[in-house]
């Protein structure tokens, strides 16, 4: 990961958590109250996403990134607890850039508005927590050669 530089093209394979605004808020509230969150943060990856529901007989619906900066108030804590990779769109705050540098994490970006195209690189999607939030629940997504670019590298260089 250290060799990746801002702007490099990266294809991601493996499992990532799909979560966005309300799930971030809830997870941070759970951590701050001293309880155990319903996901394992150590060495984890988060994709800022709220997918459309799959049609009957299909594995996935439309999937693409949401604006990352809305997660920024919650992100430094999650990075400090082990989140290594974040996938989203747009720039991040200086607090997030500092946390990325300190904990050697990486932020990847992928274009918004091309969700039918991106859905081809998702093998599976599973509901993990907070089903009452609908599209804002936490999902586990299995990515295969999912196309991204480095948005902030481990040295803190940003797009």
């Amino acid at each position: 990961m250290d060799t990746l530089k801002v702007g490099d093209e990266v294809f991601v394979s493996g499992k990532v958590y799909g979560m966005r605004d309300q799930a971030h808020k809830k997870i941070v509230e759970i951590i701050e109250s001293g309880s155990r969150p319903p996901i394992v943060l150590s060495e984890s990856s988060i994709f800022y996403v709220g997918p459309t529901p799959p049609k009957p007989g299909e594995k996935v619906g439309a999937i693409g990134p949401t604006t990352s900066i809305r997660m920024d108030p919650f992100t430094p804590l999650l990075i400090s607890m082990g989140v290594k990779v974040m996938i989203g769109k747009g720039k991040r705050s200086t607090d997030v850039i500092e946390a990325i540098k300190k904990y050697k994490a990486i932020y990847l970006v992928t274009p918004g508005g091309i969700s039918a195209y991106l859905s081809q690189f998702i093998e599976e999607i599973k509901l993990i927590a907070f089903p009452e939030l609908g599209p804002e629940a936490i999902y586990e997504l299995t990515l295969r050669e999912f196309p991204t670019f480095v948005g902030i590298d481990t040295g803190g260089n940003s797009i």
Binding site: G50, T52, A62, T66, P111, G112, I114, A116
Partner: protein, 275 residues
């Protein structure tokens, strides 16, 4: 006098929501293709190619163009000679939205209480409805589906009445520089000028409904935006915006409201008429 059953309006809304989420508007695609030929950055070209492939996959496999299937904004012009019968108009519009979103498995993105509980309505209603009574005997319906990555970039400034065009341009450029990257560039930009604060914002939406040709000022503003070099997906490039349109209205002697509506590269607009 002409009688229109509002169920026909519900059916029209249902059709327009489906079309807008699955099929890129041909004029939007033409503008994207035209701009893609001007892009010189390698990453920018790649993203243009992904945008064009996305449109094909969406249409063929019936997967929404974007996972944010948006908030539905409806503009209805009702001829003065039309009598509406059946369901109340707003209920009919929301029925159409509900049917489209639940049966097509589009994402339900609307929450009921905006501040406290934010509980999802799970049918993407209610929608935002603008009605206008006009001469004639037909009902014209336009739908704009707006994702919130781009709606969050909407900006209003109440200028003093003595400013020059240059200051409107500077406001536009600072807005795009600050917020454009989050709105999924290459952008479609609507600008509302005049009226009141709320009306300028409405004009900025209406400006993008018909995709009429740009005039000289609009072209020069578009060129200035493109000189920001934000590029497709904000990864740098020549094309930050593909289209810019202004809609104006008379205003008060003491002011000059300017609203900027930034839309992503898949401008999801469509319309039809019931005659």
């Amino acid at each position: 006098m002409k009688t229109v059953d509002t169920l026909e309006i519900a059916e029209s809304i249902e059709y327009l929501c489906r079309e807008a989420n699955y099929t890129i508007n041909p004029r939007v695609l033409a503008l994207i293709e035209e701009s893609s030929r001007k892009e010189t950055s390698v990453i920018g070209k790649k993203i243009f190619s992904q945008i064009i492939q996305n449109a094909t996959i969406s249409r063929e496999k019936m997967i929404p163009l974007c996972q944010d299937t948006g908030i539905v904004i409806v503009f209805i012009e009702i001829g003065q000679g039309v009598v509406l019968k059946g369901l109340p108009l707003e209920d009919a519009v929301n029925l159409g939205v509900r049917r489209a979103y639940t049966s097509s498995f589009f994402r339900s993105s609307i929450v009921k209480d905006p501040v406290e509980k934010r509980i999802n309505t799970f049918d993407n209603t209610p929608s935002i409805i603008h009605t206008k009574i006009v001469p004639g005997e037909k009902v014209s319906i336009s739908v704009m589906i707006k994702g919130f990555g781009s709606e969050n970039a909407t900006t209003l400034r109440m200028f003093p009445p003595t400013i020059e065009r240059k200051e409107i341009e500077e406001f536009l450029l600072s807005t795009v520089k600050e917020k454009g990257i989050n709105a999924c560039p290459p952008l479609f930009i609507g600008i509302g000028i005049g009226g009141t604060a709320d009306y300028a914002l409405q004009l900025s939406k209406e400006a993008l409904l018909r995709l009429e040709p740009m005039d000289d000022w609009e072209r020069s503003l578009l060129d200035s935006v493109n000189r920001l070099k934000i590029g497709p997906a904000g990864l740098g490039g020549d094309v930050t915006s593909v289209y810019l349109k202004i809609k104006s209205f008379p205003t008060h002697i003491a002011g000059l409201p300017v609203a900027i509506n930034i839309n992503c590269h898949i401008l999801r607009v469509g319309g039809l008429e019931i005659e």
